[in-house]
Symmetry: D2
């Protein structure tokens, strides 16, 4: 059963995934990971919170880290096209019976907070403080040379329902995996900004955040990060990769922050701006969808994820497990 056709005229206009806020249990250690190792740049910093951006971003932040007692994901943030889209969004979510709230966030203009039907906390804004461009200050490039936030990937207990909800927000599916037995969608990749995805959902205990991804220039930057992490005490934080995903065709690496929040480093996906860009369907039994080159992912990669603040996790609808070799 194919994914639903894209909704070309959605109720409001989301531009892209903008930022992810995390709760972390040792901010200094997380700073060492995100700043000294990955190479994100600090936009603002206090004793309890760290605002970070990647090298080509001019918005104030793409990652926010809060010192907390428990590791969690506070919110996924999305940029909308225009201030009027926020009002349209408020109306839309109200009609869907979802909670809406206008909140004050540092460095951001009018901000609408809601949750998706699974309880994933979402916030929408049109304007965030803009900072001077850094992308030609090559002296600052460091670590993996992260250029921009790319996407967030979630476990969902009901991927068909998740795809339907986000499809109705205008996210267009680029690739998906179908479970042949049930003809249900096992996993889906959905975009707004013209790449393979801003968000993705995979069947599993959910909602949980599987990972947040950063886009880097070339596979050699990923190799540099592996060499750096391997020789600066972070070798056990390398979880999977490097490899090429069949799905998305991206060259990838998965690493874990000190609280186990998973970060993907990612490059070389493809452009999907055409509204008639056809989704690619993969079979759940095809191991090359996960790693084109055939190597298996470790069990932890299939099982572990970060909890969203105050979201109740449920068992997945689909019980078939993905193939885990070796």
């Amino acid at each position: 059963m194919p994914v639903p056709p894209p909704l070309l005229y959605p109720p409001f206009n989301i531009v892209r995934l903008s930022h992810v806020e995390y709760q972390v249990t040792d901010l200094a250690n997380s700073r060492s990971f995100y700043v000294d190792t990955l190479g994100l740049q600090i936009s603002d910093e206090t004793d309890s919170v760290l605002y970070l951006r990647a090298m080509e971003e001019r918005g104030h932040h793409c990652i926010v880290l809060h010192q907390a007692n428990e590791a969690k994901v506070s919110v996924l943030g999305f940029k909308v096209f225009d201030d009027s889209d926020l009002d349209k969004a408020e109306r839309y979510f109200k009609e869907q019976g979802l909670p809406v709230e206008w909140i004050d966030k540092p460095y951001m203009g009018r901000t609408l907070k809601t949750r998706d039907p699974d309880g994933i906390p979402l916030e929408f804004y049109a304007l965030m403080d803009r900072l001077p461009s850094l992308h030609q200050q090559y002296k600052l490039y460091n670590g993996v040379k992260p250029l921009r936030i790319d996407h967030a990937n979630m476990f969902s207990a009901n991927v068909d329902a998740s795809v339907s909800f986000y499809n109705n927000l205008g996210f267009r599916t680029t690739e998906y995996t179908e479970d042949n037995d049930t003809q249900k969608v096992w996993a889906a990749w959905m975009h707004r900004k013209g790449g393979v995805h801003d968000i993705a959902f995979t069947n599993g205990r959910g909602p949980r955040l599987h990972h947040t991804a950063f886009w880097v220039p070339t596979p050699l930057n990923i190799i540099d990060l592996l060499d750096l992490m391997s020789t600066t005490g972070w070798v056990d934080s390398i979880e999977r990769g490097p490899g090429r995903h069949g799905i998305s065709n991206a060259f990838f690496l998965y690493v874990l922050d000190p609280d186990g929040h998973r970060i993907e480093i990612y490059c070389s996906d493809y452009q999907t701006v055409d509204p008639d860009h056809e989704p690619i369907k993969w079979d759940l039994t095809d191991p090359q969808r996960q790693t084109l080159w055939g190597a298996a992912a470790p069990r932890s990669w299939f099982e572990n994820g970060s909890f969203f603040d105050s979201a109740i996790v449920e068992e997945p609808v689909l019980k078939a497990q993905p193939i885990i070799a070796p």
Copy 2:
């Protein structure tokens, strides 16, 4: 004087630059250049016409080559979001007093032909035949491994006027060069698809096409092309590069097809989907805007361009010449 603010709600919705059609004087020789050397894939081929696409494109073609007596550019083609956008476009161009015509084009649905105020031939369509994806058929990758058409760059006799016209079509300026003396825009880069540009204009005898550009994965692909061209009889077709543009931050190479049509190979520009993405202003006296690393472009690069079919070329408004070293 800054470029005009972006028109966020344009009269119709252009998705991206889609294709460029050329007239060439020796199709077999051009085939050797575009197919055997650059590595574009053949979608269709007759004795007199060649349809080509790049590796990640699913639309039928991004380059069309017609055997002709004279080397020219036939048309720039743009994809619009939806069939209704074509009707909106027809109304809009009529209101502007520009010529409109519905034409039949192979492999394309309803197609609207017009010219911009300088006489550049333009065509708009919503639907083009879609072909199976090639991007994971790695055996086919060849030459420079071109992934997709990126942009077309034109000489304009009046860049301010060109920027104004295309701004009113919804193209948003990402970078521009200003002539300090006259406070006029010397050159501008404008996009629809979320990169640095789909189209660009530079002061000069115009309208003429300066180049069409293809996006490739990494600088190493460009080095591979240089090695290949240098040892297969194409060394004199290497015009400029490799280098990094200050403007766009792209790693570039310029090569010339057998008729002198200029092709840019291009990678590593940045994402510009934010509607409040601020344009970067460069000073005409700053040589790093052209080559961040300081090397000069050859005179031919400043002077030569391809003529558009039936467009009358005029002398430029601005007489100051860009700095040409050495």
Copy 3:
């Protein structure tokens, strides 16, 4: 217990590992692997034998494939500095009680055949037919763009004995792994040509050939090979990698030819020409010696190897197994 000090003035002067001859059971299929996939160039070809060289080699061949009923390794070939070294070699091996024989080999001058004390068949020559250079014929570069043969790696039932024998031939140890319990050498890497190794030995049922390695320009060539093999029917022939060895610091990939002969693709080791270049000692319990980035090798990589023609395989002296995760 460290490896023995290098013998700076050996009995004769070996320049480098030159070639490996294999017996293969389906020459057409092996041709598809070595020529069409890896990108080696054919120097000569008959119905029953294929002579191959890599892109920067001017000697006639580095790999010889013979059609045979059984998959085996026929011989390891070494180039000596001068014709007089062959006579010195003959005397030396006779003194050691090893078999010596002058043989006729196509494309090679005077050739001395012997076996090492474990029965590994070796041949030595000073002159091989030289072919025109190919390294700037970039049109011919294909597959992984192999530049030159780099080394052969063997299982040895007694690594201390192997190291001692080859040390006495002038091979200098660059890195080695020691078994703490027994203070015996578990594995050693030894060179003549000024890189990390021409030959290496690892504890295991031996003598068997673990792999032959080719040197390539950059990690991106290895990624290209992975993409190619994954999409042309060779995905199951990818055994391990890509990764970085702690030992040798090389970026590696291991693939299997149709008979299971293992080939390593390898780049970025370091220069070792200094006669006082100190060997690096690794602890057998350090998993980063095998993969700096921490990922485990599959069991097959530890267990499988190719038999040498007429060499009797014995159980290893050391029983402790290397750490195999996961």
Copy 4:
């Protein structure tokens, strides 16, 4: 007229070019160039002298910078195989009527100082202090990530004489350019360590040092250096490149230190350990010998060089100038 055949059994055994000592007029500024920009590591530092090494070197230094009133080259240093080679060298140079002197150098064992017939100051040693390996301390990699010193290139007033002298020391010619009119050698590249060269000579006012070269892993490191220099105030110190030499096939960049001493960054040459490795002859009229891709070198690159301490510069024997475009 070909270069002389290699002298396979030279009077003493030189291993490789080891180090170059410079006089610089502003040590702090030179430190900023060599350490902060190129990424060389400091082995020792005083107010008046700086000892540097590259990432994979274990010898104490490959570059020594002395604070001085005048910019000059103090000496080229070579490592010999064994202490006995120093005594053989002393005898040999005495027989040649060249000055010999045993000198004390910090961090070096017995050191023999002499001059070649053109007055180039040379020193030879067998043992230099060895330092712990850095090549897997990836946190320290910086700038262009220089791995090792590769070669020194000199202007010679009589290249035939220079080639003859160094050929008699055992340097083997890998590539050379011949002047068709006079059948004299215009330029020659000569090695001991198994790469394309340790030293090279080009016709010109000499003796002068044209450049010292460092080997880096991939062309992308050179691109990184260009980006870094272009945005940290060093853009005017970029003299030529990036490009590929026809001769040596190396990917190159030439930059100038604050005193105008020229440094080449260099990768991807080839292995030349075979004693019967045939030199490649280039014609002086072939512009691809200098840049395979056809771009011309600037005039400064042909004309400027660093003076050797106390060496008298003479006009070149050959008057024909190399082709300088544009």
